[in-house]
Symmetry: D2
């Protein structure tokens, strides 16, 4: 599989490193507008063609698939051109700037029989795989809530707010784990340093009383990556910053009984062992790119296809609308 | 100062223990409806009169002040009767079930020249005192946000939701530290086990772009008590569960410059030392009750007077309204 | 069971509180040399006789058992007098100042058919009970090492060094868990502030290649209470300062093979889940004192009898000898 | 500066990566006995000559300096040959297998006017630099103790025990920070899986009552990298596994007074703020190699020269002797 990569900024080098180390793939051309970044790319990969012109990648006859690792506002144009030229597309998250763009790309790919994969890297981590497995096995019982905190100092983006920057991680994970779509969204936040929100909060109402909440912040003195999942039978804490024991399953629960004629609730708290399952130790991006190559070869639809990317964009769009109204409920 | 105490459930024993150990105060009578709790009270304090009838406390001629340590829906009736009988009142948080009740109690106390203190215990902890000192000295610079997480397993209340149960701590601390009133509130949440929300989130919009957020949850497998304050000059993390180093001040910040003609923001991250100030080691409730005795003697208005209690009730009321509309913005 | 308590300093109040709350026991007399401490005792327990004269406790006809909660150098005289007067004895750890004293007390108690219990409180904690259970069930496999760190700032003792102050906890736990006696001991340490060591280290060689190590320190800025146990099949971490999850069992191990003709070792690391068993939530001292009452009634020999106390004293004696020679190997 | 590198196993690739990225240095040849490792080296660095024969590096006329990144038992032969061929030498720690070898290499280098640097990488970390600065400024006051724990699961070495594998880190740091030589050493330990100790403890007696202790273990379920330094004025905790706040300085101390005629010690505990200084964020190995190039150019003697390496070897030798006698005191 011959790859072209557009964008060699913060994340692009990781994509190139993994694509070049995979058995079945190689990178032919890297396109990047920054001269300094082009220089770094050329030094690291003397054998790869490095250009300032994305069109060179898009129009190349030797390239089968293109990785678009650029700011979100450029995704649509680049991915569209790539698809039109018959290339499979791996595109950085969030998929597109709005729903219309995402739908158009999906339709185009389907017409052309090409594969779109959106870079929802976290789906390929040992932690998310294990949590998915536990949920599928019913270990947690009926889910009550999903609550994530993703805060740190910076990196401020100049084209998007903190919600579009950090929440796609949580939304893509949540979309994968919950296998359900939110009915309505409330988002609040504030801008302190420029024209984009740097602190934001998002509540998502799912069917069957499942509630999700996301706390994202570019102005936190400490880095926090913590997700809580509460279920009827067990509860789970995922702390992605722990070196070991990232995922802890608590055999804890609450039973509430309303006995007839009894005024007070009968609440019974159950507390048992805690258990930290061994997680697969892999580089998620490597697995994801290898899976991309496999999907193209086999024609299999990726779990993180355009539709998955579009669902995340729809949630972000609804959140933006709510945020602009300081927290109004927006139905999806 | 002779005290009567109404309510000897979860928190009442702590109030009695501290009142009896203070130099200037003693407890004459404890009223409690549960026979089992009365028995415990009598065993622990053979010298105190224990009764099932609150009216016995309220009408006693020897009692100067009454501590009302009962469910919130009883506060108004009990405090009103106490004030009408010329007693000073120490009342558990939240002050009352609604604004009207709180206002009536404040007016009554003012007419009768009596002192109301609402049990905002946290204001008397070493941590909150130190944070207040740091804010007043300008150590953090202009404040950007206040973000608190207060979650644990239970204790489910049968008469109020998790917001009325846990958020009064945060709201009273925030009210004291920020010295400002929110302009609008958004609250979201969900009920899973009974007719009250067990998971809830609250955003408060303050003037000058200050935003506050509170995350409360009765269904968390782990106990979290973490508050982040972000300021222009420094940032602060308060983890109340740390044995030592509860408050950490980070010499971190972000400067954003928009240079004319330059497209990208110039963002400068500043990162210096962290500093954990030594905190006063005191039992907060003891200090608060001692301060209550002092305020009554001196006629001084407590920092946690009826007005402070009322401000918290107003925020809770607005939050309840927003919550019932699944997150609509409610102006105060 | 009627108790007399000698010593109402740091630990005595806890003993009295538990003895008075147990169903089957009451405290008749407390003897204490400090007038201030006697005043505190009398205020807290108006119904108990408080005296400055230990002989009053020892010679009382109504008293069945005596708790000796005094400095170690007084244990022998007080316990001997108590036993001679036909009283059962609960004595603070370490049991005695030397082996000879301990042996004499054991012989005396046996002749008189009286019970000696040494206050090895930790044996009655949920953590030690669970670890004992895991070892007995073979969960860890053959044990390799026991490594404990017990450091904090102070409290400096004026009559004993840090080894005699803090290590008895570890030695009594280890004696209980390992069910084996060390063959030889090496101890090192240093005095900085007075004539007793404030920093000390102790290695114990047990049969079958089991090694134990204890690190005790009165000059540490942070409090650490961590014990590691390594076994052939699993490994265990006990952090007594964790609120929850004090004991963690790691499904980790190492297999080393020496294949014939192959120079390098074949080392295979095994790494599986971590598991934090739910621990019994009890006040250890209450359980221990209740067990003392039971042992007296039933004539059962306590697990923490004089012999257990003597084994700890023997280890401390050997350690002292080694320490005085800056670390010479001392055989037991 | 033209480099040859002998050894491309675990650590060698890091040395090559840094040497190739430095401005003033390049790697001409890598010698490595494992064919698989040679293949990896050649793939990563197509422009570098890769050979199985160390002599090719040693005898090359174009090479100025040689990095010896091989097992300790090979250091002497390789470094000697390199020095005899007029090459400067960067050698992995520990410097040599014994004192005699180390002294011979130092003498040879001095005769030939060549530079030896021993890879004591930790001296170039932000943490050690800051601790050194604090000690030199007298922030901690007179030092009382240095206590390090360095434990994890594996990596088992087949030619040396855990003391020779892990303790050189601590010994080199301690040697640099304390600027003093130990007077005597006690070491204990045990072998469980093969013929080398996998658990070991080391006490070092320094002049002026300074005591040091090192706890190393290949059989720990958790990784610990914690060093405590206690001083008269302040105390310090260095936890190298913390992402931020690796070094914490505690304004804590103890004053002990022996007042004439007063039996009990007057102990006064002082407890103030904690402070985590901002540390330099650098790759230590890069700084060290850059410093090596500078030292060669300028003729400056490195802080981690052969003498520093030899002091560490002497301590290890004494520890080995003590260990073989199960803890006898060995004077240096």
């Amino acid at each position: 599989m011959n790859f072209g990569v557009i964008g060699y900024g913060y994340w692009g080098p990781n994509v190139v490193r993994n694509l070049t180390s995979l058995e079945d793939s190689q990178v032919l051309t890297i396109a990047e507008i920054s001269a300094a970044a082009r220089k770094r790319a050329q030094k690291a990969y003397p054998g790869i063609n490095v250009t300032s012109d994305a069109a060179e990648v898009i129009s190349s006859h030797d390239i089968d698939a293109i990785a678009v690792i650029t700011p979100v506002w450029t995704h649509y144009e680049l991915a569209k051109a790539a698809l039109e030229n018959g290339k499979h597309v791996f595109v950085e998250k969030p998929f597109t700037s709005n729903t219309a763009e995402g739908e158009e790309l999906i339709n185009l790919a389907e017409r052309k029989n090409l594969t779109i994969m959106v870079d929802h890297t976290f789906l390929f981590t040992g932690a998310v795989k294990k949590i998915s497995e536990l949920l599928n096995e019913g270990t947690l019982g009926k889910l009550y809530y999903y609550d994530s905190t993703r805060v740190n100092l910076g990196l401020f983006q100049h084209d998007i707010n903190v919600l579009w920057d950090l929440a796609p991680h949580d939304l893509s994970i949540m979309d994968y784990l919950l296998k359900a779509s939110p009915e309505a969204i409330v988002a609040t936040g504030q801008k302190h340093l420029n024209s984009h929100e740097d602190v934001a909060y998002m509540t998502l109402y799912f069917p069957e009383k499942v509630i999700a909440h996301i706390n994202v912040n570019w102005l936190s003195p400490v880095k926090i990556r913590t997700t809580l999942l509460g279920g009827e039978k067990r509860m789970l804490l995922w702390n992605d910053l722990e070196a070991d024991e990232k995922v802890k399953v608590y055999d804890k629960g609450v039973d509430v009984t309303n006995r007839e004629g009894v005024y007070e609730l009968l609440v019974n708290y159950r507390s048992g062992d805690m258990w930290a399952p061994q997680l697969e130790q892999v580089e998620a991006l490597r697995q994801e790119l290898s899976y991309f190559v496999d999907c193209i070869s086999s024609g299999q639809q990726p779990i993180n296809d355009g539709h998955a990317g579009l669902r995340v964009v729809k949630m972000l769009e609804a959140a933006s609308e709510s945020l602009s109204k300081k927290g109004s409920l927006v139905y999806l």
